[in-house]
Symmetry: D2
Subunit: 401 residues, 4 copies
């Protein structure tokens, strides 16, 4: 039984972990298998080939590491950098902060570029730093594609352009945890060197796979990277890739079959359709927030995130009361405000295997909660605004035409 | 994989089969078992004891028959009546029609009391018929508690009162398919002789169990009932009840464990709370319909159903287009209008393991579809009306207080 | 949790319900669906087409009835015969007895041909009866292909030959509950008019589908068959087949997807390979029984069953003690002796999704139990005999070559 | 579907990952949840409390890390030691080798004590080294409780005794990957400082949890341990333990509920009964090996492992052919010989949720395979030897008495 049962489905609108579609649950509903039999390598081979598509890369090398996003970060850094290496990293919210903290604890020399929470990475400062770095002391530019704490999407194409403008050889490392499979991401076109995500985000699996993809340049960097690593060492994977057995240690059979099913669903829907769906969900959410008379934590449209919206509430309300009430009264799971924006924002995650009517149920719930906590919302206003947009924009489900 | 995949969850709002809660899916996710081992009788014993609670009976004898609602009907009739027996039966919609058809094909002499579709059973005529039946030629009064085609709930307490007023010995047979576990139902208090439901309705299981409960008077009637029956014969069950092995033929192990989980969830929520939740869902739906400027197929408030609402649409729209669009564009499953009301109504089922935000997502979807098909609905209006009511009436989830 | 837990897997060797393979469990692990959406008819259409293959028929019409084998029997009889019709039926064990009992309770005039339990149907007497029946008073010959109580397989080809020899128009009705998908069965070639099985037998699904197939002649017979039927009426199905919606009442969505998966597995293995596998399992079991110095309940080799073996034990042992011990000490489920052979035989079911090593584990267990109850078995003897045969006969798994 | 399907159940006898019991599969068959809701900490709290019981500790602090055994090793080392620290580590097989390799790559100064593969750790040399280490340069003694490659169980009580004899303060770090929950393990009594296992071993879960338990002395050591660590840093966990939210990053909801179910099953059976069951399985396997005339890779009885048996085969046979054939013909998964014993041994894993009849099916299979590859085994001999022992020693299943 569930640990704390409530009738009907839980409405899961945290920005991860997200809803797992039934075909994926089914695929994972299985006994363990011997991962050294011929079956598991055969399966793994298809996964490694197909997972490249979600990064939009043909030249990258993927790793399916039994870990979380935090571990995937560590793998990206320790395989490509040496202690003391200078990185430029952007502090724009809780998750970029945690990554920077990790970089510091791993003994890199982190050049932090801070912005107000709600703003995107300050790329002008990146340009300045690169311009000044004739000696190429900057070894890596580390950026979170989508800051999950504030709902801010950074412009990766622009980062690449700046690197190119200065002809700078720094590695380009991207946390795509709440973006990949949901937002437009183009590893090869944007010259990203390491990109990563976690299985429980837009891929809509359980937690447990850190999915990392390395460019040829990143693989080259492993040869000189002196950071200590064993569990996260890509070379151990590469050794087993060559052997054709693929796994340096035991993978989760269930997650492998689950990933197979998740990829199949993404490809059946079409990756571009998936991204378009997230765009609809993001836009609909923002229209509702506007209709409620509330502010988006994200300051400018250029940074709007299609996977998570952080909603700023008036100072007389504690946003954690909204999250608590959502769970206690409506079986709705919303995201808390974190750190600097704790108590000030709550977050609606709208990523992964999700459709418009699910979101509208959530938005209706948020309206009632806002009223519960004393905010003078006009009930139905957000849903109306979202519907006005969605009714014009939802396509027919291709398989049902 | 699903046969025709669409992203996100299917919004299942037909009036059965309904959403299965995860704890029930989990309980059924199991291999077969030997039903002659000591384990299955031990499990069965708890089920037979506990299933009586959903009928609110202490004196009834339940049967868990591997069949559907149609089979449960057949079991109720053939175990208690003989060919040629006169029954009074109320024709108020498609499901009462089908039951009457079955009664006729089983060679009973059916005295049909017809009402307009959208009205409840005409109990005045019942009173007249009973008054005139001094010879007690009427052997059974057969009534559908909740007519699923029109969303009409009949007043069973009143049926009992009329029977008592005329001191009439006719059996009182009730189809509770879309009522039991959702609407107020009191087998003992109302002197119901046979009541029945199907597992895929408010119990929120898969199809496959016809759940029938017989009063002592009904069991007595089996002794003289001459209708031919083998598969549906209660006596075969009673024989195995006495032996303590319980099953005359092979039950579905999965459904037994599923029923155990479903009952546990109902009792954890509290049967009265479950009924109150259905009352909220019904009321919220009707408020939305009203806000849309549409008519409820149910003519009077006394017959309003808390498990299904049939919505009448203007003659220039074909309601089956609404149902088609719901499925093709919004991954929403609505009920068609059937027979006399085909094309004229669509149905929103709101029964089983369902909560308010799920319903609100459905209502938002219906608004968009109404607009799609050319009905001038004000988007957000129905959701607003429903929320205004719900926000004042939803209790905290007891386990989360 | 399981109702009575024991460590490790339960060894399920009753002759049904049998082990469900994981791919089938996975396919059934799903929410309900609207069976009136376009998805379910599309799925159903493939099932009806493919299920004919397991009957080896191209001209038959299949019905997937939400019921058990007992219900499938009732459907076969009531759709094709009228009360008072004369049937010839063979009493050779508990399941043929139960079918005869049903025929009698359905008011047919049953001409019972009895054999000793352990013998097959006496077809010489059938020949005599047909020879004497110039008036064609015999309307149907009813025979159990494989008597599950004694492990006796009847010769259906010979029944057809006798019918043909006398040019007799009687319908040929076959209970294939413990044979179809496991033993050689040829509906068209043998001119079977109705054949049926249950989902929980060799198809390796949960209980809940009575799968019935009717020849054109059987369908023709429905037009004059006066037996009362509603739930089991094939005509209701045929009406919905024509409409393309397929279902007169609610099917189990889970069993439909499960059946799809079960058929896929059967076809992947190859139906002839499946039958050959059962032949190996049957032979291995009989060799073990012989090695133990025990007798097969089946008297002659021509009747040996490849799906169940009834083992006769010495009179100083009560066979139900063997079954009890199997379950209490070894987590092994064996079949009891029934009725005339109660206490005298125990049964090993070896049908469905089962492989040789599973059977050998069971046989090793039986040896220990025999010793437990005082029978002087040589431990290892049965397994050795079975292995000697199997090691020469098991083919490579085709998908793994 | 399975990636490479074979009929019947796969017989999984690699020494991990092992069979997952159905109640655990069921518990994990669920959607994601918000791990910041009150439900997940409440669940986690019970897990942290109960997981201590499998280590037999009351003073230890457990960590449930989303990683594999390899990651758990890394966590044990980096949290307690500093680069350059001297460890004593025993090389007795492939898994101790890999751990030593990790220690070296993490820049510890590893004092390797090597034995022949098939022998246990040479504790005399440990004694010598401790005796000579008045300066306490040895910071940790690292030992694999059960070497999975050779089936050798080391004597941990004796390690503690030696440490005590020399009053040596070195940390005592134990890899219990293939021992904990299967072999007798006593963290507090033996003064183990860090012990660890992986979820896919005797706990019978999928891969994905590294379960680590630290003594107060180990926790104290973290304060001075200078090894670089972020993902594996226990302090991040301890910080969240204090907050009562428990998770520094996203856990797998499914594995948490699965662990709850796995612990419930272990406690229902009784941890001591579980250990006794493994003892029976180990003994039965060794008796079979002896009966086949083959040698156990483990040289002396004192080192016999009750979780895995490595079987030495004659030089004219390649053991990998045995493993290949097992999978291709018998749907049986055996363990390969690794590294020094590649081609020379094959391994039978007999740990986790497994019962005697499952093992006997495996042993019968191995006999046939041995014959397949040209070894002159007497079919049935191993099974007979195992049965002779088991039939005298298997207890009744407590819940079924």
């Amino acid at each position: 039984m569930d640990y704390v049962y409530g009738p009907g489905r839980n409405h899961l609108f945290v920005p991860g972990p997200v809803n797992i579609p039934e075909p994926v649950l089914r695929a994972m509903n299985r006994n363990n298998e011997d991962y050294r039999s011929p079956a598991v390598p055969a399966l793994t081979k298809t996964l490694l080939e197909d997972v490249k598509k979600i990064f939009k890369t043909t030249t990258g090398t993927p790793f399916l590491i039994p870990t979380t996003g935090t571990g995937a970060w560590e793998s990206a850094l320790t395989n490509t950098l040496s202690p003391g290496d200078r990185t430029v990293s952007f502090l724009i919210g809780q998750f970029s902060l945690l990554w920077i903290d990790q970089q510091q604890r791993l003994n890199f020399n982190v050049d932090v570029v801070e912005s107000e929470w709600g703003q995107g990475a300050n790329l002008d400062i990146l340009a300045e730093k690169l311009a000044a770095d004739n000696a190429h002391t900057i070894k890596a530019v580390c950026i979170v594609h989508n800051e999950t704490a504030t709902g801010v999407t950074n412009n990766l194409a622009k980062v690449r352009k700046i690197l190119d403008d200065y002809n700078h050889p720094a590695l380009f490392l991207v946390d795509g945890v709440s973006s990949i499979c949901a937002l437009d991401f183009r590893m090869d076109e944007w010259g990203v060197d390491v990109a990563l995500t976690g299985s429980q985000k837009a891929l809509s699996l359980p937690t447990g796979l850190g999915i990392v993809c390395a460019s040829p340049k990143a693989l080259e960097a492993t040869k000189t990277a002196k950071s200590v690593r064993v569990f996260f060492d890509w070379n151990d994977y590469l050794k087993f890739y060559k052997l054709g057995t693929f796994w340096p240690y035991t993978p989760s059979i269930q997650l492998l079959y689950g990933l197979r099913a998740a990829l199949d669903l993404l490809f059946e829907e079409g990756l571009d359709n998936v991204i378009a769906r997230h765009s609809r969900l993001g836009k609909a959410t923002r229209l509702a927030v506007e209709a409620w008379g509330l502010k988006n934590c994200t300051e400018k449209e250029e940074w709007y995130s299609n996977t998570v919206t952080a909603v700023v509430i008036p100072p007389y309300i504690d946003s954690s009361e909204i999250v608590r009430r959502a769970w206690k009264r409506y079986n709705l799971s919303l995201g808390l405000g974190l750190n600097k924006v704790a108590g000030k924002v709550f977050r609606i995650g709208h990523l992964g295997n999700l459709n418009e009517l699910q979101l509208l149920g959530c938005l209706a719930g948020v309206e009632m909660i806002l009223k519960d906590v004393g905010y003078p919302v006009k009930l139905g206003s957000g849903v109306a605004a979202a519907c006005a947009y969605l009714q014009n924009n939802i396509p027919l489900i291709p398989s049902r035409i």
